[in-house]
């Protein structure tokens, strides 16, 4: 069973009006459990739109989007996925622990269960001692880790990430990539990840989808098989070959 099944999905914003935008051409995509799929492409290629179709935050104009073998909208209502955004988007008025508890609250978990889960999640993202801190006391990288903990707190099968590391500096970013891979492995979640960064896409993914703009389409697919990532992976010639492959594909769509 696929985690994501998209068949012939298109998206047109403001159809029939003067400012009509054809955001996505017919998209077909299947993502299997445990995959780490990255969407990469120039600005305005519809990668964020595609992510929001999967999240059922917007509806496709035509075609169908299925998550966990049911309509995406139903999957949203069933809370089948967790989502992380470019900004951590933590609520300033809640402590770190309470931020992670937010989705659990909405699902009606008891207070004790919420506490316990928040503690586990904080340990997973290595922020155990910061439970009672407020987000404003944490650095950008730490905030993003809390956001990931929040997205995974209710153990969704699917994690959707919209340029989550885009606002971080290079050092923190590489560190967060390692953290994310560790969490991905530990939780066996399926990830769909949107990014602008070619090395990031190659380092993280099992599959890189290169998208072309106007209207957004999946132009080419680069399978990445670099085995377990380690510090030396970024210097590995095989890594650079893949980076070049994605870069060439991107250059082609930008022409």
């Amino acid at each position: 069973m696929n985690v994501i099944d998209i068949r012939g999905a298109t998206k047109v914003f403001n159809p029939g009006k003067g400012n009509q935008v054809e955001a996505l051409a017919e998209i077909d995509l299947a993502v299997e459990p445990g995959e780490f799929v990255t969407l990469i492409g120039p600005s305005g290629c519809g990668k964020s739109t595609l992510l929001r179709l999967i999240a059922a935050l917007i509806a496709p104009t035509t075609g169908s989007v299925e998550v966990n073998a049911k309509p995406a909208e139903q999957a949203r209502l069933d809370r089948d996925y967790g989502m992380a955004f470019q900004t951590a988007g933590l609520f300033d008025w809640r402590t770190v622990s309470k931020n992670i508890e937010l989705p659990l609250e909405l699902m009606g978990w008891t207070k004790g269960d919420r506490r316990r889960r928040a503690k586990e999640m904080l340990e997973l993202v290595k922020l155990g001692e910061f439970a009672t801190h407020h987000p404003s006391e944490l650095s950008g990288g730490m905030q993003q880790r809390v956001a990931i903990a929040r997205a995974l707190s209710f153990s969704p099968a699917l994690l959707l990430m919209d340029e989550p590391f885009g606002a971080l500096d290079e050092m923190t970013r590489e560190h967060m990539q390692d953290e994310l891979l560790r969490i991905w492995k530990e939780t066996e979640t399926t990830v769909v990840f949107v990014t602008h960064s070619i090395p990031e896409a190659v380092y993280l993914s099992t599959r890189v989808l290169v998208m072309s703009p106007r209207p957004g389409n999946i132009a080419s697919i680069v399978d990445v098989d670099l085995g377990e990532r380690r510090a030396s992976t970024r210097d590995d010639p095989a890594f650079h070959t893949k980076v070049t492959e994605v870069r060439v594909a991107l250059r082609k769509v930008e022409e």
Partner: protein, 325 residues
């Protein structure tokens, strides 16, 4: 596993940055005490300066007046300085401790009593204004089209002079408001005037606050399939609080002004407004009493402002201690 080693090494910049932030937050917290002391001192010094300016002008004016009878600058171009126009500060302050004729309490206690009466009117009006203002803000936030239709009327409502509507409200209160299950009293009419001044800043800032969450935060709640009220209570209302408190500070002092003006123009007895009106009538026999009663009204305004500021620190300050403390 080599990857873990690297991870531990790379933890460092994050932890270091965090330590620096903690230090800054700690300093910010310590600064609060310093700031309160500094503000108090500034306030006292400022009041002292104002008093000195008043007394100094009176002194200089008196001196010029005594010499220059042919060319009276003071009194024609500049305000007169005699004791009837500018009672000496000592006498104004001293008035608080005096017992006016026909009374068995010292003046400051009488003022306190009347201030409580006015405060009750203002508070009742303030609370109703808060509820109405937030209701309008919620409605405007919910139905965007309403914003264009309703907002001009909300703004126009504030251009009607207060003194004009106060008597109307009192008359309505006596004649028409018997629909309420309780007996309508005149002070409630004054509260309506306070409401009238309160709801506006609450509605305007409340709307801005409710609309303040970033689109991602809204999408986050949608991704959790949160319903309208869950989104309201967990995201939009808490996010609106800093905006709301900015409005409440204005509204609190405005409600006092509204109550005092309302008392004066409606003839409701028992509060500071009525007191100021009476002292103005009896000005020639006791000018210091008028000044003292006005000082009392100012003190009441400052008091409610401080109460709201304290509440704000309690509610909002706790949210992001460290950042704003």
């Amino acid at each position: 596993m080599p990857a873990t080693d690297t991870m531990a090494e790379m933890e460092d910049p994050l932890v270091r940055e965090h330590r620096l932030r903690q230090q800054a937050a700690h300093e910010a917290r310590r600064d609060v005490t310093v700031r309160i002391i500094r503000q108090t001192v500034t306030f006292v010094v400022f009041m002292g300066l104002l008093a000195a300016l008043y007394a100094g002008y009176k002194e200089v004016g008196q001196a010029i007046d005594d010499r220059q009878h042919d060319w009276p600058v003071v009194g024609s171009v500049l305000p007169r300085t005699d004791d009837l126009t500018m009672p000496p500060i000592g006498k104004i302050i001293g008035q608080f401790g005096e017992t006016p004729g026909g009374q068995d309490q010292i003046y400051v206690l009488i003022l306190l009593d009347e201030a409580l009466f006015t405060l009750r009117e203002a508070f009742a009006g303030f609370m109703v204004g808060l509820v109405i203002g937030m209701a309008i803000a919620l409605a405007l936030a919910q139905w965007r089209r309403l914003e264009q239709g309703l907002l001009p009327f909300v703004i126009a409502s504030q251009t009607i002079p207060l003194i004009a509507i106060a008597p109307i409200i009192v008359i309505w209160g006596r004649k028409n408001f018997d629909v309420f299950p309780w007996e309508w009293q005149d002070w409630m009419s004054v509260s309506i005037i306070a409401t009238y001044l309160t709801f506006f800043p609450v509605a305007v800032n409340g709307l801005r606050g409710l609309q303040s969450p970033r689109p991602e935060n809204q999408e986050l709640m949608e991704s959790y399939a949160a319903n309208w009220s869950q989104t309201l209570w967990r995201l939009r209302l808490p996010a609106s609080l800093p905006y709301l408190f900015a409005a409440l500070k204005i509204a609190a002092t405005a409600s006092i002004v509204g109550a005092i003006v309302g008392e004066i123009s409606s003839g409701v007895v028992g509060g500071l407004g009525r007191r100021i009106l009476r002292e103005a009538f009896n000005y020639t026999t006791g000018p210091d009493r008028l000044f003292a009663s006005v000082l009392g009204a100012a003190a009441l305004g400052i008091f409610v402002y401080l109460v709201v500021t304290g509440l704000e620190r309690l509610v909002v300050g706790r949210q992001n201690k460290g950042a704003t403390a």
